[in-house]
Amino acid sequence: MAEILLSEAEKAYIHHGVQDDLRCDGRTRLDYRPIILETGLVSNASGSARLRLANSDILVGVKVELASPLPDKPKEGRLEFFVDCSANATPEFEGRGGEDLANEICRFLQRSYASGDTINLSELSVLTGQQCWVLYVDILILECGGNLYDAVSLAVKSALYATQIPSIKVATMDGDQPELELSDDPYDTKRLNTENIPCVVTLMKIGNHYLVDPTPEEECCSSSGIVVAVSGNKKITAVRKIGSGSLHPDSLVSMLKTGSEVGAVVNTILMKKLLEEETLEVSQKVGFMR
């Protein structure tokens, strides 16, 4: 991740702030920075979302396509993640510079969605063993402002929430050749149940305390932390440790506990906000023209 140069004094200042539960930007340890979220701004995609968490800027597009299901899961569709770190975010991402980070995030997303509790993949099945929907989730990191995991997971969830899957009917079966019929009404679509899709919470340990939603400066001061994926029903679906330092089992347990609590809250708030956005009077999309 993008390294920031900090002097010892600056680090000490951050340390002390965390200790006193008052961070540089005025937050407590368990506070998030403000989030700006908008869905449906990429009209070509089946679903999209753009999320800005302070300076972290994420754009997610979901594209649905018909394909044949995997042989071992004939009744399920699937999700494919792809993360692209734009060189706009930091010059280090130029060329293949962002690839490691992208793979890391991608793998973690895959792992956190792998649990059966998160998303019902059988909803994506069109015709058992023959046709299913594949959701290609393309994540574009436009700017790094710390706490990428959380930002990405929220954006992905929002995009999936907004995704509209065309309704398709199996019109005739002729021999074993299915004839798929597409509804001619662009509004005739179905949505996924995104209730339980996990949100990711990153907890960073600084000194003896841990905090959520670290800024890049705080990430710099921390030697270790964990990333927890928490599904809508408060279950942890994936955990990953980051940083080179070690963690005491006691603090690990307490971090997991806090993580799942925070995750559940984030999840409810996100769902509430998404619902709110939908009921808004139709308005112009804001997009990047702000």
């Binding site: 018909l66 002729d174 001619d184």
Partner: protein, 956 residues
Amino acid sequence: MLTSKVFLRKTKRGKVLKVVREHYLRDDLWCGSELCKKCGQENSDVLDKSPVSSSTLCAFPHYIVIDTNIVLHQIDVLESPAWKNVILLQTVLEETRKRSTNNYKKLREIMATRKDSFYVFVNEHHKDTYVERKPGESANDRNDRAIRKACSWYQTHLEESQKGTDKKKQIKVVLLTQDFKNREQACNEGIPTYKVDEYVKSLKDFPDLQEKLAASHSESNNENREPLYPEHLAPTRIMSGIKSGKLLQGVFHSSRENFLEGTVSVEGQDKSILLQGHASLNRAVDGDVVAVELLPEDKWTSPSGIVLEDQEEQDPGDEIEKEEKLLIDSTKSKDRQPTGKIVGIIRRKWRQYCGILLPSVLPEGTRHLFVPAERKIPKIRIETRQAVTLSSQKIIVAIDSWPRTSRYPLGHFVRALGNIGDKDTENEVLLLEHDVPHHSFPETVLACLPSMPWMITEEEVNRREDLRHLDICSVDPPGCTDIDDALHFRELSPNLYEIGVHIADVSHFVRPDTALDKEAANRGTTVYLVDRRIDMVPELLSSNLCSLRPDQERLAFSVIWQVTADAEIQKTRFTKSVIRSRRAFTYAEAQCNIDDSLQQNELAKSLRGLNKLAKILKKNRMDKGALQLSSPEIRFEVSTETNDPIDVISKPMLDTNSMVEEFMLLANISVADHIFKHFPECAVLRRHPVPPASNFEPFLKAGKTQGFTLDVSSNKALAASLDAAVKPDNVYMNTMLRILATRCMMQAVYFSSGTVAQVDFYHYGLAAPIYTHFTSPIRRYADLLVHRLLAVAVGADVTYTELLNRKCAQQLCNNLNYRHKMSQYAQRSSVALHTHLFFRHRVQDEDAYVLFVRQNALQVLIPKYGLEGSIYLKGNDGDSKLDFVYNPDEPSQTCGNVTIRTFDRVVVQVSLDSKYVQHQKIAVHLVHPKIAGLSVDAIEIPKTDEPRTKKLKGGK
């Protein structure tokens, strides 16, 4: 302002795509009304300031907005000048384009010709009239809403401009639509709306317009009738049926001889599928693409032996059972062929048909039957009030629909062509029927012609080979003005001759990509009617500048060979040249020159040399297996005053005919070889496919009855067995066999060499491995293409992209093949027409030969007129029974002691049956042999002699 349109699309490969199009809304689209002060338009005069309403239904001044369903179903009505101040919405245009390209094209034409009456309002891009599709709304509903929105926008927009005017004089916008729901909703929104038929009927200045209203389905009064025909399957079911192989897709051809029979030719199948009876034909019209279901094999049958014409002289109402019986009763021969029934129509090939009205018992009535000129098309029921005036005219009618409850398709009157029997009218009919472009050449085309007086420039002469010193002459039929070929012959040394074939260099005048070129490519060929020629290129070129007239210097494309006395080619050379023909012979003149040994001038000597070589060439060709086929060809002697035919002569075949033909063939083959060598991918060639064995069946059968075993395994074998099949007592029999053989042949076609495997280049009739048309560029476009290719090959001209594009070439070829076929049909119809005219005032006894023996008729050929006719074996007075015994195996008909078999010679009386003035046809009656109750008396002592009569009476 920008919005975007989103829709989903399924690709051919089954992917689902989300398509997003940007859609710009504008605020500077004017309303087009002269009255409007708000819009920034200048000089808009499409929509009048004070429109005059001629409708009694809405007497107030109004503009009209029409809905898509009117364009789709009532396009002919819109052509009328009655329509003024019409607002065409873009929504309507786009919907029309999507639903029917044909109607869209017609609408564009109407819009182009009547610019002052139709205003196109781009409502989809106007910021105030654009509507977005709502969730759950169908595309159709959305369009209806857009139309209503535009109507109400106009209404308020116009109101603002005419504040203060008298309420009664204010212009309103009237919506015409056939859609009940749309009408209802428009009413709710306060838009005055009517059905188009209501509106048209209320136009007091145009009472005739309602004739053109297409019969609407919902209002036909036979809603509650028992359906006569089985249902058609839905398109999706047809598609899946075809995919699974349960149904077959093919083109429907109805039979000429029996209106209750037809065949469907399925691609990739040798035998076509037979259909019999109304239910199996199921409302298909000749040319339609249909879906057929095969019957189980035990229900297969064979074509019935009877000749059946839909002879109802009056509207029989909606009944079909009686005729079916006729069909079932007829005896069938043993060999059966795949039989099926039509279950659905994939694509209608309906066009407009020429024909006449059937005289009705109630001429004042409105429902009448229309009889198309083309026998393969069923009668059409139309509604008209002008039956009395139209009954003596040829008219054009379009089919609208064919509901299950109606015996005949429903249609409407389009326009009248002129009086029946008028030669101009009849000519017009046959040109229209055969889709021959016969309008005069437009200005743009004429602009491409060289200016007169025209001279060959010095420059041009230098570029070409100067052959003016050669003794070149042309040999053509008498009266020919478009001379496109000329010949020369020269002795180089005792055993070496030089022969030249010089073809008019049309490609010098018709340059690629000019308007002239496009027009010629579209026309494809010159069409020769009996009394008229429809040129492919303007007359200045065809009869003057290109025509190789005698004693005039002309540009030519020459093929020059050096041959030995055995007609062996030593050297072939192609060159652009300048020539001066010494003389234009007719065939007869040339023949005289050859035969008259007193003639010792250069030209006569040349002709003799050419003739000698031609005979050798012909023999070589015959040895290779070329066919000598026969089709009766006749020529009319036309009276100079009335232009009516006064006599008929068969075209004589002279040595010189075959001499010219021989050298043309040689030139064509040489050129074909050469251009194929240079352009293996895009050479324009001509091939004549080997006919499939099944084609020969009637021919073999006919041969068998005469006791000949005919071998059709190859063209050589066929030629040999045709030569062997001679009967000394029936000289014409061989010709008849050749006529039959001609009918078994496939059509020869033009093609681009890149599209066909080289083995298939074979020309069956000429037994040539490669062939093209080079020698008649004045009258055939294919030759012109070949000229261009050859010119490039010999370095005399440059290429252009279309010439070398295999796809373009094939597309051109397809058009040429179509035009060529149609022009042949038109020429035949023209001959038939003149035969009619010829017999108008005479009755004649003629020799005839039996072509086919059917169960209820004899089909005879009268060689003198090349005319075919049917003698129905049912007695003169209608229902008196004649005891004819039909033997389907031989086939023969026996009555008493007279037996008639295929190819027998009979004497018939030919006359014009003018029982119905409107529907004249040639009637053929048997004179000899005498059969009581059937034959008629000879009007003069027939020239037939005793022995022949004996043979006929000989019987079994």
